[in-house]
């Protein structure tokens, strides 16, 4: 199924374009000319950027075109050098990457609200395409500092029209009015949001008034970890049974544990209701839920196994299961 731990692909940078202020788009192909494995909207790849640095970037190309992958990368001056290295890449440069993986899968529903902050637009682009192809009711609200910093904004507006695509540039219209955008929950509408932590926190707070399970987020600044291992397979030891299971990239801890016949009470399976909260005996989690408080996250004693995973550099979690 998924790529095994650390499996890499030799790729080559086919094309580099500046798509907004401080944002480049890279088109990547396999060095051997073969197509990439099929992937679903929301997927990302690891990019080995040199000096042992590995970064995750969401795919913004079309899942229908497997001869290439495209990523959009924002240059973050005060980061630890990943984006700077990517921005230095030229067409023709060989590059080590992973097969696409998905931690932000799109669930089937009748309506979608996509919400992007800045470079958070990237994983949503294939989702818009999928929603459009399936004839769903959908809207994108895309906020950024100014139009020239907002990658792909014009192309999206040209392709889907201003009814579908709402571009909110701060220097023209102020910041995203989340009370207005999220103040009226819609039935069967799923919210997919990606952007900076501050924006996602504010979105989560407002979505507390939405049906449990409506909101799906991806923090593209991978919760300060930014290393490869956060998306690698890891082991979970179930303290009560002594069983150890491997959790691959394409499965949640909950799914992996259920597969070996261990029961965990769960409800929304989307990190929103807290039913599957599990005690951590040892190991460090990467929290991906929307219910635990910062205090809980810092304490690291419990986690929601329906969405959260092992943190970077933590190959094994021991859970009270």
């Amino acid at each position: 199924m998924s790529a095994s731990a650390g499996a890499t692909i030799d790729a080559v940078v086919d094309q580099v374009d500046s798509v907004a202020d401080q944002v480049v788009s890279l088109v990547l192909r396999r060095a051997d000319g073969q197509p990439f494995q099929p992937w679903q909207p929301g997927a990302h790849i690891d990019v080995h950027v040199g000096d042992g640095l590995v970064r995750q970037y969401s795919l913004c190309s079309s899942p229908d075109e497997l001869d290439h992958l495209r990523i959009g990368v924002l240059h973050v001056p005060d980061s630890r050098g990943g984006s700077k290295a990517v921005h230095a890449l030229l067409a023709g440069t060989p590059l080590t990457i992973s097969e696409p993986r998905n931690n932000f899968p799109m669930r089937d529903s009748r309506r979608y609200l996509f919400l992007a902050g800045g470079i958070g637009i990237t994983p949503l682009i294939p989702m818009l395409e999928a929603a459009e192809a399936a004839g769903k009711e959908w809207t994108l609200v895309y906020g950024g500092r100014s139009r020239n910093t907002m990658a792909f904004a014009q192309q999206l507006e040209d392709r889907y029209g201003p009814d579908r695509i709402r571009i909110i540039a701060e220097d023209e219209a102020g910041r995203l009015d989340l009370d207005q955008i999220l103040g009226m929950p819609r039935a069967h509408m799923l919210v997919y949001a990606c952007g900076p932590g501050g924006l996602l926190g504010a979105v989560e707070e407002r979505c507390m008034g939405w049906p449990p399970g409506a909101l799906h987020t991806e923090r593209f600044v991978a919760s300060t970890l930014g290393a490869a291992a956060a998306n690698a397979p890891f082991e979970v030891e179930l303290a009560r049974t002594g069983t150890t299971v491997t959790v691959p990239n394409d499965k949640t801890i909950l799914e992996a544990v259920e597969e070996v016949g261990v029961r965990v009470l769960s409800s929304c399976r989307g990190g929103l209701c807290g039913t599957c909260e599990t005690q951590i005996i040892s190991g460090e989690p990467e929290h991906r839920d929307a219910v635990l408080s910062q205090e809980d996250r810092d304490a690291g004693e419990v986690m929601l196994v329906c969405v959260s995973r092992a943190a970077a550099g933590c190959p094994r979690l021991v859970l009270d299961l």
Binding site: H188, E205, L265, G274, T275, V291
Partner: protein, 399 residues
């Protein structure tokens, strides 16, 4: 798109008559067999009892609205007996109230309750384990939530005796104004006034859920009236249903000795037992929604303004969802997806508290009781929308 519709099958049976309230399942089976949507002459409402249709009504909160009230009358036309609660509201009014509640009741705030909630369960079950027989309702199910929950909300001791009769009024009002309703509303003004008094800021302690809700007024999220109504919602929704949940779980387990033995070997399974018991004997059996715009459900045209009676308890026993043994308790079943706590926008906010109370009581009982069996027939309670027992005599073997 052309939608082919047919008429709803018309049922002359009354879901609120005494026989159907005391033993609802034969009627619910007939209702499911009659088709996806039936018309009930007795209440003048449509009825849905299959899992798929119940799920659709619960999740499509734009078509099936709550501001018409959960009873058979449309409270928009004919003002209800009290200011509408969060259960009787739609977005965007519902949205801010729900947000305030979710901010207050969440995994971390509920987790902190395990400590204060455990000693009363230990004390109660220790006393009961010394007896050969007791009434699982009067001696346990009714006692425990009243010991722990009002403290968690932070209401004064004075006036707590009104909580049970008040809850009885609130839930019975989701049914027709029959004699059960009228009985529940005897001295109704007094109960309602006492409960409302306990929801005021000055009558709440500084740390409970009530005070936390009032803090959201200072944040500007909700109004003072909404804070009062939210505390009231906690008090009315958080006591009766949990009592029924504990009682119903024990009523099931007393009939399944092997399950009790399995639970004794592995008490970690207690929460699964509770979940499966809630599916099988759902405390909150049914309520109404109001159709906002003409729509089609299960091939039946439903006109705007119509009332739909949603049978949660029937959906939770639908063989198409749960298999041929849907009417049996199965400790191994994955009951996830049951609608005992509702589903979607109005899904029970207090669910983690209720689950915690039920799990703690059961675990403490399992520690001290080796076997439990019925000691005579349980007496089902006559209630318009809740399913539970007035009395549940059991005989036990102490561990």
């Amino acid at each position: 798109m052309t939608v082919i519709t047919h008429d709803a099958s018309v049922l002359g049976e009354d879901p609120f008559d005494t026989a159907n309230l005391l033993d609802p399942y034969p009627f619910l089976g007939r209702l499911r067999d009659a088709g996806a949507v039936s018309y009930l002459e007795s209440t003048g409402s449509y009825a849905v009892a299959g899992y798929q249709e119940v799920y659709e009504v619960l999740t499509d909160f734009e078509t099936y609205i709550s501001s018409g009230g959960l009873g058979p009358r449309d409270i928009r036309k004919d003002s209800g007996w009290r200011p509408p609660s969060i259960l009787e509201s739609d977005p965007p009014i519902h949205t801010v109230m729900r947000r305030a509640l979710t901010g207050v009741i969440n995994p971390s705030t509920v987790r902190a309750l395990r400590e204060p909630f455990t000693p009363p369960a230990v004390e109660l079950t220790e006393q009961l384990a010394q007896r050969e027989r007791f009434d699982a309702i009067a001696d346990l199910a009714e006692k425990y939530p009243l010991r722990v929950f009002p403290d968690a909300v932070g209401i004064p001791d004075v006036g707590r005796e009104h909580l049970l009769p008040y809850g009885n009024m609130v839930f019975n009002a989701f049914g027709p104004e029959n004699y059960i309703f009228k009985q529940a509303f005897a001295q109704g003004d007094e109960h309602a006034a006492a409960v409302m008094r306990n929801c005021q800021r000055e009558n709440l302690d500084d740390v409970g859920f009530g005070a936390q809700i009032w803090k959201r007024v200072e944040d500007g999220l909700i109004t003072e009236q909404q804070a009062t109504l939210l505390v009231r919602a906690l008090l009315s929704a958080g006591v009766d249903t949990t009592i029924f949940g504990i009682g119903n779980t024990l009523s099931v387990l007393a009939r399944y000795p092997e399950a009790w033995a399995r639970l004794r070997e592995n008490p970690k399974l207690a929460k699964f037992a509770v979940d499966e018991a809630l599916r099988l004997e759902s405390p909150f059996q049914k309520f109404h929604r109001t159709v906002a715009v003409d729509t089609v459900l299960g091939g039946v045209h439903l006109p705007a303004g119509a009332k739909v009676l949603v049978f949660l308890g029937a959906a939770n026993r639908d063989p198409r969802k749960w298999g041929d043994n849907a009417d049996d308790f199965d400790l191994h079943r994955n009951a996830s997806g049951h609608v005992a706590f509702g589903m979607g926008l109005h899904q029970c906010v207090g669910q983690p508290i209720a689950r915690l109370e039920m799990e703690i009581v059961l675990q403490q009982l399992l520690k001290r009781v080796a076997a439990i069996e019925p000691d005579g027939a349980p007496a089902p309670i006559l209630h318009n929308v809740l399913r539970g027992f007035e009395s549940l005599p059991v005989r036990i073997t102490a561990a």
